[in-house]
Every structure is written in structure tokens, then in C-alpha cells.
Symmetry: C2
Subunit: 263 residues, 2 copies
Amino acid sequence: MCLDSVLSPSIIAGMMQKTAAVLIIGNEILSGRIKESNLGFLAAALNECGVKVAHARVIPDNETIIADTVNELRAAYDYVFTTGGIGPTHDDITTASVARAFGVPLLRHAEAEARLRAHYRHDESLLNAARLKMADIPQGATLIDNPVSTAPGFMLGNVFVLAGVPVIMQAMFDNLRHHLEGGSPTLSRSLEINLPEGTVAAAITTIQKDFEKDVEIGIYPLFRQGELGATLVLRSIDAATLSAATHAAMQAVTALGGSWKEI
Amino acid sequence: MCLDSVLSPSIIAGMMQKTAAVLIIGNEILSGRIKESNLGFLAAALNECGVKVAHARVIPDNETIIADTVNELRAAYDYVFTTGGIGPTHDDITTASVARAFGVPLLRHAEAEARLRAHYRHDESLLNAARLKMADIPQGATLIDNPVSTAPGFMLGNVFVLAGVPVIMQAMFDNLRHHLEGGSPTLSRSLEINLPEGTVAAAITTIQKDFEKDVEIGIYPLFRQGELGATLVLRSIDAATLSAATHAAMQAVTALGGSWKEI
């Protein structure tokens, strides 16, 4: 449950939507060796909390680049979520880079160390210097629990530092979402139509102008069984306005001789 | 074939590696509705041309943001590749935004228009104002052929503007790769090992230091049949150095009681 989901709808409707940037850290994503798969999850999960992902970036394992990017993004967006680079090996430099961004030292965190010691209690020799590094957290940071593999993430200011492995990142997100103060979730409705983009473009442009401030309309090509169609996606934080725009789009498609199916 | 793949190996080895940024444009990626799938292709295809993707960014359909980001990235990297936003609808604003970034007007391009007219020759009424917009190209740009759906991409300075639909983007890339001047492709070797990251971290850190300037080593966790292992990925532009580092890693894994398999 997100922090403000207990507020009444009228209060939520009056709140501005919060924004987030997702910072994906790792040479393996930029090289194409590993397919990025955290952005989609974070976009959907954050939207449920009324936080809109407005920017995403993929950068290499480079301390200066990470620190500079964290500072740029945390100044520009309400929240920053980083993924990747918090494990035990030499290329896991996200934690040190975030400490540098905030100008604070890395300190051995007693609770994080205790969790690692409990995790490796069957063979303490496994808790070597490399693994103990995962208990070093920037001064002032709060741990984010990792129920999958123990080594925690952390939050510092408006920056949330998460693992890169999707199953761990998702478990961490469930343990931080109650800290987020969001606005209204964006609602969406989607129509599959049997007319290509170029045929409906002018009509949908008119509808977009009519609902300029309140509804965002996207049109995407759709290839199915050799036929060209399109998907219309309408988004708004207000259900009634969204419904009015969606009906206008349905009528426009029908007027052009096409048909639509809500999906 | 990339431009310099006809050069001799000794000339290639002396060339610096070129860098690229990938700029993914579209609200539908940031909302999580569509999964990003072009970065991996571009990373691999550019590496074949000796161009390293060093940065990627996902931004919304916003003209100011697109123009500012194009200007930031084209100054910082040898090449910029944009995907998305060059279709016929109101949310396709990449072309106009790139023109703004370069401070040049959009002009109706005779060749692009001729191609669209040929494409719609069976029913000229389909070539409405929205579709004709796809023949408006920034002044000074060179067309990039689109064998899938006719409407071209374009290159302007060091910026390559491509479609977002993967099959079209990939076809466009095949039509532009001969324009790229790259360096040596990055070679890679990968080892799957049956020891977890934390166990090999110190030994691999030593090898990374030994080969600091010439080899980049990544270590990633591997979960298989309930067992924790790791994948080592070693990268270099020099095959002999890469081989030496890979053998050092193999020996280190063996010395720690583990086994490796080259994949």
C-alpha cells in the first residue's frame, strides 16, 4: 500500500502528480548482453502510487558518471530509483557512488552486518571482505529490506537504491512503497482500431486539442494478420474526463468508417 | 558492412573506439505499456561496427525535452541514434524537435514525398496531410531508407533518426551502417562458474587490476536449479589480451575449488 492511498479521492484529486526518474546502472545493459527489464515494472508499480516515471537513463559502471547523474536527477525529479551495482564484486560501485553524490562517507551498518552474519551463520568463512562490503551504507541512509538474498538496498534523501536482479528489485520495491507520497494514479483506456494511424491522425489531433490539459493520447501502429491498424491509448488522472475523451475517439473512428474494440 | 571493416587489422587496432548514445523517445515506454526492445539490438549492431553504446536515455514526447536532449547528447558522443516518434500522428514530434535542436527549418523533401506517393498510388486519397507530414525533413538531412513502410528516417550531422517499431528500426539500421566510422569491435568471452559472486570477488578484483586498461570484467549472479553461481564476462578490443585475462580467471576459479564452462 502506498502512503496516500488511504486519503479520500477528493484530496487525491487535488494533489499534483509526483515524478520519478529511473537510473539503470550497468555495462551489461549498455552492451546488450542483458535485456533491461526493470523499467516496465517500476513504471507500473510507481503509477499505482501516483508517481509518474518521467525519465529513464542507462549508464555504465563508472563512479563519476553515477555520482554526477544521481545529483542531476535528484534535483530534477521528486524521486530517483537506481537499479544495479550493489553486489559484492569490483564492478558493484553504485553504493560508493551514491555516497559520493551526497558527500557523505560509507559506514559499516550494524543492522546490515547482523543480517549478513545471520544469513551466513552455517559457514562464517563465506562472509569474506567482498560480501561484508554489502553492509557498507552511506551515512544517514535507511535500509530497504531484501527478503530474497539479505543484502539490503537503501534510501537516502529522495534516492532509492535497489538491486538489478529483477526478482530482488521487485521484493525491495514492495518494502519501500509505503514511503512514497504520490498523487493520483494515471488511469488509462485503450482502443484497438482497424484503421491505420495516418487515417485517424487528423481526427485524433482535434480530440487531443479539445482535451489538451487533461488527457494524453498516444497512437501506435498495430500489425495483425497482415492488416494495418492502430492502438489508441488515452491517459488521465480523472475518470470522467477520460471517459469523455474515449467516447469522442470511438465516435471519430466510427465516423471514419472504422471499428474499435476496447482492450 | 560498416565503413571501416575493409581496413586491415593493424589499422583498426590503432583507432580509438567511437561512442554512441541511444535516445528512446516515447511516453509509451516510460509508462511501461510497451517494453523497450531497441537498445539491445543497437548495442550489438553498433559493436559490430566498432561503436560502443555508452549511454541510453528514455524521454517523453515533449519537443523541448527532445531538442535539449539531442543537443546535449550530440555534443557528448560521436553518434546519437533516436528511436520513435516519426510517424504521422500528433504525438510524432521527433522530426520537428530534431530540426529545432539544429536550428534548421523542416522542408518538404521531394524524394520522400515521391516515395510516399508511389506507396499510396493505388488510392491517392490515403496520402492525407498527416501522412504527408512524414515527407517533411530537417533542412540538410539525408534520408535513411525504410523498406518496410516507406516513410524514411534521416541523418543530420552525427544524429540518426529512426523509427520506434523494431522491425522498421532494424531495416533502417541496415541502410545506415555503411555511414558509420567505427574503431575495433569489442570482443567478449563469457564463463559460467559454479561459485557465487562473493566467493570469487577478491580474485577477480586482482585480475581486473592486472588488466586494468585493456580488459573490462563484469560479474553477474546466476540462479540455476536452486544453486547460486555467477557469469563472468570479459571484454577487450584485443584478442590476445582477452585470452590471457580469460585464462587467469579460469585458473582463479579452479584454485577456489570451483569449475567453469565457457559459453
